[in-house]
């Protein structure tokens, strides 16, 4: 589903910085992949390119057989809306809106008719166990609840891939574990999950870990999966 070959990204703001220096890998549908690396390694840049939030400056990226080079900004936005879901470290909820309205946001930019939206929002919120908070103001929720709302928002358009950028970074260990278990269960139901993290314990929820350092892929290894009962997140 995702194919990356010799991917490069150069920033030319003040001088030239090569964030990615030729990365090659592929991800199949239904995989749970962690991208690990220290700060400044290029892992977030890679996630941004994979999720169509940014474009590479070299190499090729193909999503479902279509190169990002061939797609206009409008087409990229459409793919992000329809096929991709996003979970951010800082949740990015609109705190003045309630849970319902936050989860509904991606639907506003989709082709889904207004009459069908309510059911989809309720279903997504229920899937993260927050149906009793449906009309609570997002700003008044706990960190763990906020991230679960963000996951519901990522799920509401029923995307194939979920990109999670340090999803446990702002959470306590208990909430982090809950969030990772939700992501793992989504993967078990067939969704592809691509996770960026610098925490080994979080990364080990995946079936495969790609390690990046200084813009170069260090390793790409499959790991044994034993998620149930894991309570060892920091």
């Amino acid at each position: 589903m995702i194919y990356v070959q010799d991917l490069k990204k150069e920033y030319r703001d003040e001088g030239s910085t090569l964030a990615l220096r030729g990365v090659t890998f592929s991800i199949e549908k239904g995989e749970f992949v962690s991208i690990m690396g220290p700060s400044g390694s290029g892992k977030s840049t890679l996630l941004h390119i994979l999720s169509f939030l940014d474009r590479p400056t070299g190499g090729a990226y193909t999503f479902r057989g279509k190169s990002s080079d061939e797609m206009s900004d409008r087409e990229l936005a459409r793919v992000r809306n329809k096929d991709m879901g996003f979970v951010f470290q800082s949740f990015n909820l609109l705190s003045r809106l309630d849970v319902y309205d936050n989860v509904e946001i991606p639907l506003l930019y989709s082709d889904i008719p207004p009459a069908r939206r309510e059911a989809l929002v309720i279903e997504a919120v229920r899937s993260v166990g927050l149906e009793e908070k449906l009309h609570s103001e997002a700003g008044k929720l706990s960190g763990g609840q906020k991230q679960r709302v963000a996951i519901a928002r990522a799920l509401v358009t029923d995307p194939d891939v979920i990109f999670a950028d340090e999803p446990t970074g702002n959470l306590d260990s208990q909430s982090g574990l809950q969030v990772m278990e939700i992501l793992a269960s989504l993967n078990e139901k067939g969704r592809t999950v691509i996770l960026v993290t610098h925490e080994t314990q979080t990364a080990e929820f995946a079936q495969r870990i790609i390690r990046i350092k200084d813009g170069v892929m260090e390793s790409d290894k499959a790991i044994a999966v034993h998620r149930i009962g894991r309570g060892h997140l920091k």
């Binding site: 939030l53 459409r78 992000r80 809306n81 506003l108």
Partner: protein, 417 residues
């Protein structure tokens, strides 16, 4: 994104900062209400002036010396330009009086003089007229009497004065009738005071005039034998244009003019004057509206400023919306709807405030100054203009911030602290 959703999102954003939205709107409210009030006052003044001039009667025509202007526009009469033209005389008045389509013709000379009574004085416009002029110009003498043909023939020093002049010279407690005033150091006995009526024929204010016998004005004030104007009252049975054409023929014959391009007189009807006055007041109204619209521009800049602040404050929101599928156009649309909603709501409020102020002005003037005869005018075009301009201001002043929002890079926007 459906327009309905964009509208809902925009209204929700605005309602979350109610006080800020109201304060932002205030500039537009003041701008639109100023335009409404000034346009309304302009139209009221126009209707008042034209109404008063029309009340004199549409069959009044004047003849002034000098050639008519070559273009169709208005130019000041030769006398006002300091040119003395002596082409109108007694013979013309007689000839016009004999014309069957004319009921009466009355000449006039005029000038400025200082009117003095006791310690009070006021610079006035005096008019030397014949007794017939009272009928020709529908002068109503409110107190006392008009002077007579005998007074004119005998060059008696009598005067009929305007009500404002009477008030200025005599105050509220002294009866002006039979009092002696001085004009150009010549004593005149006040025999009558004109009724309050505001503007007289051809837009001349009759409140401060002093009417004196023609013979006195010509011989003792000016030392001339010609007239500066002849007022003619046409027979209502005839069309006014026919009367005008007959007058032209009579005067050309009288003056021995064969080439129409060499006329040494100008004939103006009330319609001509109404048209000129209408043009002047319209220009004045537009001028007032243009001044008021400056506040609209200031209000618009306020909207732009606040929208730019809102775009910066909501950078992360923009980043999120773009990440989950919003296009540049979706974001632009949302912010543009917000700015148009702000200005449009400001416009509607401004129209309501303007209407209230116009109503208050009308109430005040008709209650406390009924003699002005103020008329209520609330021009619908001002309402349409107000709504149109406010909507347009939202687009003009909102497009830049909205474009800034739409162009934001989602990654930078999501990282914004």
């Amino acid at each position: 994104m459906l327009f309905r959703d964009a509208f809902k999102t925009a209204t929700r954003s605005l309602s979350h900062g109610k006080l800020r939205s109201i304060l932002t709107m205030l500039g537009i409210v003041i701008g639109i209400s100023s335009v409404i009030v000034l346009m309304s006052i302009g139209q009221s003044a126009q209707e008042l002036i034209l109404g008063q001039v029309q009340s004199i009667g549409s069959n009044l025509v004047i003849v002034i010396p000098g050639a008519p202007p070559r273009d169709r526009g208005f130019s000041p009469p030769a006398s006002a330009q300091g040119i003395v033209i002596t082409s109108l005389g007694e013979r013309d008045v007689d000839a016009l009086s004999r014309e069957p389509s004319i009921l009466a013709a009355a000449p006039l000379v005029s000038g400025q003089a200082e009117a003095v009574y006791g310690d009070n004085n006021k610079t006035v416009s005096y008019q030397g007229i014949t007794a017939l002029m009272f009928a020709v110009r529908n002068f109503t003498v409110g107190k006392g009497l008009a002077f007579t043909k005998g007074d004119v023939d005998s060059a008696n020093h009598v005067a009929v004065i305007g009500p404002d002049l009477a008030a200025a010279l005599f105050g509220p407690y002294v009866d002006p009738i039979n009092k002696i005033i001085r004009l150009k150091d010549i004593s005149f006995r006040v025999v009558g005071v004109l009724a309050k009526g505001g503007t007289g024929a051809f837009g001349v204010d009759q409140g401060t005039i002093a009417l004196i016998p023609m013979t006195v004005a010509q011989k003792q004030f000016l030392g001339v034998s010609y007239f500066s104007t002849i007022f003619v009252k046409g027979d209502p049975a005839y069309d006014i244009d026919f009367v005008k054409s007959r007058m032209t023929s009579v005067l050309r014959q009288d003056h021995g003019i064969t080439d129409p391009n060499k006329d040494d007189f100008t004939i103006r009807t009330q319609a001509d004057v109404l048209s000129i006055l209408g043009n002047i007041t319209s220009i004045l109204t537009l001028f007032l509206a243009a001044i008021a619209s400056i506040s609209l521009v200031v209000g618009g800049i306020g909207i732009m400023n606040i929208m730019l602040v809102a775009v910066t404050e909501r950078t992360r929101e923009i980043g999120l919306r773009k990440a989950v599928g919003a296009t540049d156009g979706d974001i632009l649309q949302q912010f543009l709807i917000e700015s148009v909603l702000l200005t449009f709501a400001g416009g509607v409020t401004g129209i309501a405030a303007g209407a209230a102020i116009v109503g208050l002005i009308y109430f005040t003037l008709t209650t406390f100054f009924p003699s002005i005869g103020w008329v209520f005018a609330f021009p619908l075009r001002a309402v349409v203009l107000g709504l149109g301009v406010s909507g347009l201001a939202g687009i003009i002043f909102g497009i830049y911030p909205a474009r800034q929002a739409g162009k934001k890079n989602p990654i930078d926007a999501l990282r914004y602290e």
